[in-house]
């Protein structure tokens, strides 16, 4: 009897260390970039660096957003306006794409979950077949289409691409969510004279809200994080999102890591806030997509 509390105490000690390790693993790199962003250069560029700055400063943020110390000689456009514009572009891209996806994937997901029609399975494969295909084969022609249609270097061009490539996954997520909702609800609504589509908007969507929120968050984050397509399809600050702007702050020979850190922190903030507020939905959305629950 005497051994049991000891074993239990040992167990909770192991657990505590494991949790600490987990937090350190996930947080330490991010914490360091935050610390770097508020460290004065003297403290940051020392050997070893000051882990906690003695004189923290917000100068980097002021420089980045208001004053505009030169990054690598951004020739025509000052770095400040590039960064601010990138931030706005990213917000527009993420918000518009997310709003479109909310409506779009609710409808396509609902059709696949509830309607009966010929070729349904083949059409569904047609949707999800897109997911594992590496982009290059497609990007080569899209580049040419975009060039002809005047969509290169525009925000709406990027939004069209983002929406297209979100469609398969979001449709799949919404489909599996609708399938988990009992059919009685819409049947009752249809007896009251609603059409199937009306039933979606009047009865089902309110119930499906958690699923929709999950899709919205994943769409927002993945659009905010997007890099490859904008890297290829944008050339000027008109359309460059923050990820591409940051990649250009890295000069060939010299990088101002203090400013860079501040830029990185700003780019990290929106997805971080989302994952803290909507953690439950995010986790739900991820598992639903992968395990088809």
């Amino acid at each position: 009897m005497a051994r049991k509390p000891l074993a239990r105490r040992f167990r909770s000690l192991v657990l505590a260390f494991s949790v600490l390790f987990l937090v350190f693993w996930s947080l330490a790199p991010i914490a360091w970039i935050v610390i770097s962003s508020i460290s004065p250069p003297v403290e940051l560029f020392s050997k070893p660096p000051h882990w906690i700055p003695h004189e923290p400063t917000l100068k980097n943020y002021v420089d980045l957003l208001i004053v505009g110390r030169g990054f690598r000689g951004a020739t025509v456009v000052p770095a400040v306006s590039m960064f601010r514009r990138g931030l706005i572009n990213s917000l527009i891209l993420a918000l518009v794409t997310t709003a479109i996806m909310a409506l779009f994937s609710s409808i396509t997901g609902y059709v696949f979950a509830r309607y009966d029609f010929p070729l349904k399975n083949i059409l569904f494969y047609f949707f999800i077949g897109v997911i594992p295909i590496p982009g290059w084969a497609v990007l080569i022609t899209i580049y040419q289409i975009f060039a002809q249609a005047g969509l290169l270097n525009t925000l709406h061009g990027l939004i069209i691409l983002f929406v297209t490539y979100r469609l398969p996954i979001d449709t799949w997520l919404m489909k599996s969510y609708f399938e988990s909702i009992p059919k009685d609800l819409e049947e009752a609504a249809m007896i009251d004279g609603c059409s199937k589509l009306e039933a979606l908007f009047r009865v089902i969507l309110p119930v499906a809200l958690p699923g929709i929120v999950a899709v919205l968050i994943i769409s927002f984050i993945s659009t905010w994080d997007a890099f490859l397509a904008p890297l290829i399809f944008t050339f000027t600050e008109e359309a460059k999102p923050i990820t591409v702007v940051i990649s250009e702050f890295i000069g060939q020979y010299y990088v101002e890591w203090d400013l860079m850190s501040a830029a990185a922190v700003i780019a990290i903030i929106p997805p971080t806030i989302f994952s803290f507020i909507f953690q439950k939905y995010l986790i739900q959305g991820l598992t639903r997509g992968a395990l088809k629950y």
Binding site: S26, I30, L123, P168, D225
Partner: protein, 290 residues
């Protein structure tokens, strides 16, 4: 009967916009790129477009040192990323499955590496691994583990491993979350029953938990293979296009969008496409087996 037809028509009409987008920006481009594979076509000298038959493919498979090296890099990258992220993901899922204070906050923290932009992630780690002022060097130096700072990313053996590690760091939360969901779906009666039968924690894990996790493992494994095969942002941010870390994805990018060799690039993209299709096939098999 007519009601049924009306439902068909509504369904098709509702799917139409999505189908148009998928055809216009996925399937048509994919097919349209195909003929390019058989041409020697550089965007810088478009007037010299010349039909070369299957020469591009022959060159890729038999006579392209850069391709061979990228293939090797891809293999190293995928194996290291997949092993680290699945091991860490399993460990973290097991930890998060226990009860402890502030578990909700810890779960949000665990998600962070996955939600921040991969390209920012890459730069963040480039700063940490920096050879002159990097935090990792500072830490190891302070602990007395190294005598002098090491330029981690300039060493061709280390750099690919670091890229794989950072990719694994990024992908781990995703795997954690999926394995955690699978863990939570294990009926507690099963665990209790094995306790009654006298199995200790290790035996319970080995003979009860692990076998029940198998389907989730299969999913996670295939998803991670796909994701590490298609990884781009992190490698690009960490080292740029560097022969030592250039995977097939980066090689294809370099050939097509930096050298503007659209013919050869198209052929390469189809080789990658074929590999992607194999993964897709396995993925669908795994998902729909249950």
């Amino acid at each position: 009967m007519r009601l049924k037809h009306r439902e068909w028509i509504t369904a098709y009409l509702l799917l139409l916009p999505a189908l148009v987008l998928l055809i216009l920006f996925v399937y048509y481009p994919a097919l349209n790129t195909l003929p390019l594979c058989f041409y020697d076509y550089n965007l810088k000298i478009p007037w010299k477009k010349e039909f070369v038959g299957i020469d591009n493919f022959v060159k890729i498979l038999t006579n392209d040192q850069d391709f061979a090296r990228s293939l090797k890099n891809t293999f190293i990258f995928m194996s290291v990323t997949t092993s680290i992220s699945i091991l860490a993901g399993l460990l973290f899922a097991l930890i998060l499955n226990e009860k402890f204070p502030a578990r909700g906050i810890v779960r949000s923290i665990v998600l962070l590496p996955w939600v921040i932009p991969p390209v920012v992630n890459g730069y963040m780690w480039q700063w940490i691994l920096n050879g002159q002022w990097g935090a990792l060097n500072g830490l190891l130096y302070q602990l007395g583990l190294i005598e002098d700072y090491i330029v981690w990313l300039a060493n061709p053996t280390y750099s690919i491993l670091w890229c794989a590690f950072v990719q694994a760091w990024r992908d781990t939360p995703f795997i954690t979350v999926i394995l955690l969901a699978a863990l939570q779906s294990i009926p507690t009666e099963l665990i209790d029953a094995s306790k009654v039968d006298g199995a200790d924690a290790i035996k319970r894990f080995r003979y009860v938990t692990l076998p029940l996790l198998r389907p989730a493992f299969a999913v996670v494994f295939v998803l991670e293979l796909i994701s590490s095969f298609m990884a781009f942002d992190i490698i690009y941010a960490l080292t740029g296009v560097d022969p030592a870390t250039r995977t097939l994805m980066l090689y294809n990018f370099q050939v097509t969008f930096q050298f503007l060799e659209f013919g050869y690039g198209a052929a390469l993209s189809y080789v990658l496409f074929a590999i992607g299709l194999i993964f897709a096939y396995v993925y669908i098999k795994v998902i729909y087996r249950g």
